[in-house]
């Protein structure tokens, strides 16, 4: 087990280095400089400022310097937010995004699983159709429309929750609900399909024939088997939710990280582009590792299949 994890961690590191390298050179292909007043400054002045920030060095030199800094955990200093450390910026912004993402993921998965479970148990009944309907709505309505509707009706017209902004737990309710729609839909669909398959399989029939009651079968054997594909899709979804969503964060004015990535690209804020890319990548790879370990716990048949060879 320990050997397997060590091996995986080494691969993770390699992956990150490759991502850093690719991102760095792609980023250097962006037109323009981080200067805000590119259109107004004279060439001499631009040169002087770029020189100060080491942006006049040949790209390979800049790359080596950056990787050198990275090795000691230095992500550099932002250009658009003068003098602010990239690490601080990411840490400042990731909190709200993570909180919303985690809340949405937990609530979404639980509700979605329940819906899917109910749908499977009452296959082709009213509850099945209702929960499928919810899932279809959740999947097909774009989140910004749903968020806008929530904001207008629940917050502005009914006044149950704040319209937007950040601060108390009440502020997190509407964005969480808006974000949770997608995981609800995904979880419900997967749960329903998998449960139907599992419930129809031989070992369940056997268990039923041996007298295990309906709910016992469902919870002891059905859910566990249906979890495998669910974990597979929920992993990347978790990363997506927890690293911030541009649209929801903008609509509810949440100070999250979702938009930071995009604005840093349009302003050529190289250190932030690199910082967020690496952070997102690390998070992503890390979640994949967690999922692989989870597989083993959920289903012993695939435990450490690769590693132990």
């Amino acid at each position: 087990m320990a050997r397997y994890i060590t091996k995986r961690l080494i691969y993770m590191l390699l992956t990150l280095i490759i991502i850093a390298t690719f991102s760095f050179f792609l980023m250097k292909m962006l037109p323009g400089t981080p200067l805000t007043m590119e259109d107004k400054l004279s060439e001499t002045q631009k040169e002087i400022i770029l020189e100060k920030y080491g942006l006049n060095d040949p790209v390979p030199i800049q790359y080596l310097k950056y990787m050198g800094g990275l090795a000691v955990g230095d992500l550099g200093i932002s250009f658009q937010f003068d003098n602010r450390e990239v690490t601080d910026i990411i840490m400042d912004r990731i909190g709200p995004s993570m909180q919303l993402g985690a809340q949405a993921l937990i609530i979404g998965t639980i509700i979605g699983m329940l819906l899917g479970l109910v749908a499977a148990i009452y296959h082709n009944g009213f509850l099945d159709y209702s929960s499928t309907f919810v899932a279809v709505i959740g999947k097909s309505i774009p989140s910004f429309i749903f968020a806008g509707l929530l904001q207008y009706f629940i917050a502005l017209k009914l006044g149950w929750f704040p319209v937007a902004l950040w601060g108390s737990w009440q502020h997190t309710v509407l964005p969480t609900v808006a974000l949770a729609m997608f995981p609800i839909a995904i979880a419900a669909r997967f749960m329903r399909t998998e449960m139907l398959e599992v419930l129809g399989s031989d070992f369940i029939q056997t268990a039923r024939a041996k007298g295990v009651n309906k709910f016992g079968v469902v919870f002891k054997h059905g859910v566990r088997n249906a979890l495998i594909p669910l974990v597979t899709v929920m992993g990347p979804l978790a990363v997506g939710l927890m690293t911030g969503t541009l649209v929801i964060e903008k609509i509810f004015a949440v100070p999250g990280i979702g938009e930071q990535f995009v604005t840093s690209i349009t302003t050529n804020d190289f250190p932030i582009i690199m910082g967020t890319t690496l952070f997102f990548s690390f998070f992503f790879i890390f979640i994949i590792l967690v999922i692989d370990l989870l597989y083993g716990i959920i289903d012993p048949r695939i435990r450490l299949a690769e590693g132990e060879k």
Partner: protein, 570 residues
Amino acid sequence: MRKTNWLLLGLALVLSMFLVACSGGGDNNADGGEGEGNTEEKNEGNEGSEGSEGEPSGEQVLNITDSAEIPTMDPSMATDAVAFQWLGSTMDGLYRLGENAEMEPAIAESHEQSEDALTWTFKLREDATWTNGDPVTAHDFVYAWQRAVNPETGSEYGPYMMNGVIKNAEAISNGEMAVEELGVTAEDDYTLKVELEKPIPYFLSLTAFGTFLPLNQDFVEEQGDKFALEAENILSNGPFKMTEWKHEESWKLVKNEDYWDAENVNLEEINVSVVKETSTRVNLYDSGEIDAAGLSGEFVQQKAGSEELKTEEEPVLFYLKMNQQHEVLGNVNARKAIQSVINREDLVNVILANGSLPAVGDIPQNFAKHPESGEDFRDINGELVETNVEKAQEHWATAMEELGKDSVELELLGGDSEVAKEMDAYLKNQLEQLEGLTVKVKPVPFKERLRLDTEMEYDLQNSGWGPDYIDPNTFLNMWVTDGGNNKTGYSSEEYDALIEKANNELALEPVKRFETFLEAEKMLIEEDAVLAPLYQRASAKLWKPYVKGVITNPMGPDYTYKYAYIDGKE
């Protein structure tokens, strides 16, 4: 999951970043400068309170939003509207912008100019203090201005605003001279002497600008790298001080009780939240959580007719730049045809629909006034371009004949924001009315457009400019031969001579100088048809009727809250 898959995933991630990079452009297109607002529009005396100014009543708290996080609170490093706004609210320079863009004494009590207008001596008030109790002295200005041009600082606005203005600024910012040589000295604690490179008629308006704000040397050096990063690393000397700054989320300003003019400051608190989405602002405004909300596009139409809707015209001008290195656009008749084939009325009413005005010259409305009669520059020179399709066709036919062509294809560099797309489609449609002209729209992100502009790799482009100081020179000076931002290939000895004359011989003769600018604008737009003016930008904003006394500025901070107050809030 297999190892190879992670690599793929990693690659996919990188790729997706690249795609985002390609499509990102932001909506800051073509906004050359930071200047916004207008001199006339004031947000006080709503209907019902006419005649009487009103008195502050009730809780003096203003709740507003801004469109982005403050990039920096370091005056030397500030470059954008958000930074200048909050620096302007928390700090006082020598002068500050008052009503109708008039310069009010702030830290300076008065000033004197030498006869040759090269030396300005400012007498500073002795009762101004920093929030740590230190007095604000002439040394603070010397330090701040030296810091702004010091290449070590890496300031963009420092060299931009000071080179060619303050003596030796250029050499210092190029690293060729010691910062102590900068033409600014403290004769004593309360007398500041400024030496200029040449007479600068608009110098006073510069002293209100963010880059020229003073800095307390001891404080700045003590803070080092942390200076201005958090609310507690900021030292103020203005009407308000920042007490809380949650990055990317909100900040709070409270009245500075030690401010020298505290008795004229009414607001106790200004709470600012970052809200980027217009619909969110409108909902917050409707729910009563905020007192003002900037609008765009559809929301302006939705709120049309509301008494709370105010249009603020800005001195920011947009126009089509025509590359004269292009065979066809080098022909003045072709350029005149382009000038007069575009219907600007429809452009502002249908495409923009936010109160923007059709542009008919190179100087916006309500920006520069005749030094004696006070008449507006725009009113004197009138409409230098008109929409006349027939005349345009004639010019075009002449041009085609002179060039011996019957069909032409031109490329229009456009922006990639929603409005820009509609606008470019409209311009294409208008331009193609000219016989035999095909226009190809090439949408590019803002930074890429700047690059293509610098390299002059374009035929036509939709471009804009905001002023850096209140003087026609900021708009007209850029079109001289090889001007850093000319990039149209326009070069006219006569035009150069006019601008040269206005800035040197006539620097001390305001009326003649003004008239020279009038002449220059006519030459630029009417005779040489260098640009096809499109529109003067305006913005629409909702203001609660109980917010009074907010002044809108044409440059520097968008709004002055110093005199703002709340009256009649339920």
